[in-house]
């Protein structure tokens, strides 16, 4: 019993210590960071945070991320739900073919698409733009969303939709007013899954978003860390790191059960 708790505590420490240490370091001066990695700051330096936010553009990166991820998430959920619904509830020639073509997108590593994708986006004049990144994000989130919601729409009872049709509802009306509300639990799970997946993207923005003014958070932070190298504004970088972690941490504190359920149910599908 005692060994069990020791092991559990040890892993908890391994997970939390680097994060707590980074949090503490974000309030230290550069000199304090170099002198002793363990000692807390003599006085907490809140100016590290404001320097990261303004001079290191973390605030701008956060804003960019919210725009791109927000747009892509809304687009993915709307188009994904609509596609999944049509393929799950309507018989038409080519239905199976479309479904498997869409779902096949999950099997391919993004690395395979990377080079041609760069030129597709470039030829459309969308490199380094909000809308370019938004559309690409949505397109790559679509296969899993369709796959997940397809099963969900299949399992919904047909009687309610039949009744709505008899009452004179249109096809779109049935989808938006009857079926979509019934699919809410599935939408929440896949929405959480997509939100985190898109929020944390690194490879796609690294290739498709070369404009520093439009960097997303993870990308901008990584560029700062790589380009500054050793010896420059460490405390500001620590503060930027913590600012980048905080939104996700806050979301996790409030929705931790839903987030864990959403992510793991996605894996088992």
């Amino acid at each position: 019993m005692r060994i069990k708790h020791a092991v559990l505590t040890l892993w908890a420490a391994l997970v939390t210590l680097p994060l707590l240490w980074a949090f503490m370091s974000s309030f230290k001066t550069d000199a304090e960071i170099f002198d002793s990695p363990w000692t807390p700051p003599a006085t907490p330096r809140f100016d590290n945070w404001s320097r990261a936010w303004e001079q290191a553009s973390i605030g701008q990166y956060l804003f960019n991320t919210v725009i791109v991820v927000g747009g892509a998430l809304a687009l993915t959920m709307l188009l994904g739900a609509l596609t999944a619904y049509c393929l799950a509830r309507y018989e038409f020639p080519g239905n199976r073919l479309l479904y498997y073509t869409l779902v096949a997108g999950m099997l391919f590593p993004v690395f395979l698409a990377l080079v041609p994708l760069f030129f597709v986006v470039d030829n459309l004049g969308m490199l380094g733009t909000y809308h370019g990144l938004t559309l690409v994000y949505a397109a790559y989130a679509l296969p899993f969303t369709v796959f997940f919601l397809h099963g969900f729409f299949r399992s919904l009872p047909g009687a309610v939709a039949e009744a709505a049709f008899i009452d004179g509802a249109s096809h779109a009306g049935v989808f938006f007013r009857v079926m979509l509300p019934m699919a809410r639990p599935g939408m929440v799970s896949v929405g959480i899954f997509n939100f985190l997946g898109l929020w944390n993207q690194y490879l796609l923005p690294k290739v498709l978003n070369p404009d520093p003014d439009h960097y997303v958070l993870a990308q901008g932070l990584a560029e700062l860390a790589v380009s500054r190298g050793y010896g420059s504004d460490w405390s500001g970088l620590f503060a930027g790191l913590i600012i980048a972690i905080l939104p996700v941490l806050l979301a996790y504190v409030f929705f931790q059960r839903q987030i864990r359920a959403g992510l793991t149910s996605g894996a088992l599908k």
């Binding site: 997970v15 596609t83 073509t101 041609p116 949505a138 779109a172």
Partner: protein, 291 residues
């Protein structure tokens, strides 16, 4: 009710299908075409050179280094993650609060994890060397990411660190659905905890474990973000942390060898597919159903 069905279907499907076709499907198809050319992005018509890119890959020391390192990740990461996660999942039975903490790294971008661990490994002011000094192990201090023998292992440790929590949650959810009366009956019959775990719990949660093998196997062929952000070069001292994805990125976006880079992409695709199929076959078990 049925009138207007096709109008609705066309209206609903045209945008998502166009989006998917332009940004997902067509790049995947083009990658196969490009991999057979020597396109450098400037010439209007790429020259067809057959399989030459692929044969050059096998004598490209950098790509072979990447292949070797991804191979090592494939051997180490899934096994380590699943072993640790199974042990922790079994141990957290009844104490859920640990799972809440363990899961958190799963929510962080791999780029953020890379920056965090770059700080941890920093020689003079990093957490790791600081911790070793605090424990009186000054002789163990290293420039972790600067030593060719250590750098790749440092990256592997980060991969394990960031994945374990997710599988703890996945496996412990599966373990909760194993009925207590079966494990209790086995215990009454004299089976020790290890036997119960091996003969009863593990077969009943095998489906989750199989998912873990496949996901982790596929993830082991990546490593791009960690290596690119954490290690110098990027690619580490003496290319000791080179991975295939980094080679692809460099060939395409630093050297404009787009045909060659696409051949790497095609190779990565076939490797990923083979690993997934292989792991699916190797981990296949008779499915145990509970009546």
């Amino acid at each position: 009710m049925r009138h207007g069905k096709y109008r609705f279907l066309v209206g609903a499907l045209i945008v998502p299908l166009a989006l998917y076709g332009v940004f997902v499907l067509s790049p995947y198809v083009q990658a196969f075409q490009l991999s057979l050319t020597n396109w450098n992005g400037v010439d209007s018509a790429p020259e067809f050179i057959g399989l030459e890119n692929f044969s050059r890959l096998w004598s490209d020391p950098l790509f072979l280094a990447g292949l070797r390192h991804n191979g090592l990740m494939l051997l180490v990461v899934p096994l380590a993650v699943i072993a640790v996660a199974l042990a922790l999942a079994a141990a957290t039975k009844g104490t859920r609060v640990y799972r809440v903490v363990y899961f958190f790294p799963q929510l962080l971008s791999v780029a953020i994890i890379a920056v965090l661990w770059q700080f941890v490994y920093t020689p003079n002011s990093g957490l790791l060397n600081g911790a070793l000094s605090a424990l009186g192990l000054d002789s163990w201090r290293r420039s972790w990411l600067a030593e060719p023998d250590l750098a790749l292992w440092c990256v592997i440790v980060v991969m394990i660190w960031s994945s374990v929590g997710f599988y703890v949650v996945l496996f412990s959810a599966a373990m909760e659905s194993v009925p207590e009366d079966i494990t209790e009956a086995a215990a009454i019959d004299g089976a020790g905890p290890v036997t119960v775990f091996r003969r009863i719990t593990l077969p009943l949660i095998w489906e989750s474990v199989q998912v873990g093998w496949i996901y982790l196997g596929i993830a082991a062929l990546d490593g791009f973000a960690l290596v690119q952000i954490m290690t110098v070069g990027p690619g580490g001292p003496d290319n000791s942390t080179e991975v295939m994805g980094l080679g692809l990125y460099r060939s395409a976006f630093n050297f404009a060898k787009f045909g060659y880079a696409s051949a790497m992409g095609v190779t990565i695709f076939f490797l990923t597919l083979s690993i997934a199929v292989l792991l699916l076959r190797v981990t296949r078990r008779e499915r145990v159903e509970l009546a």
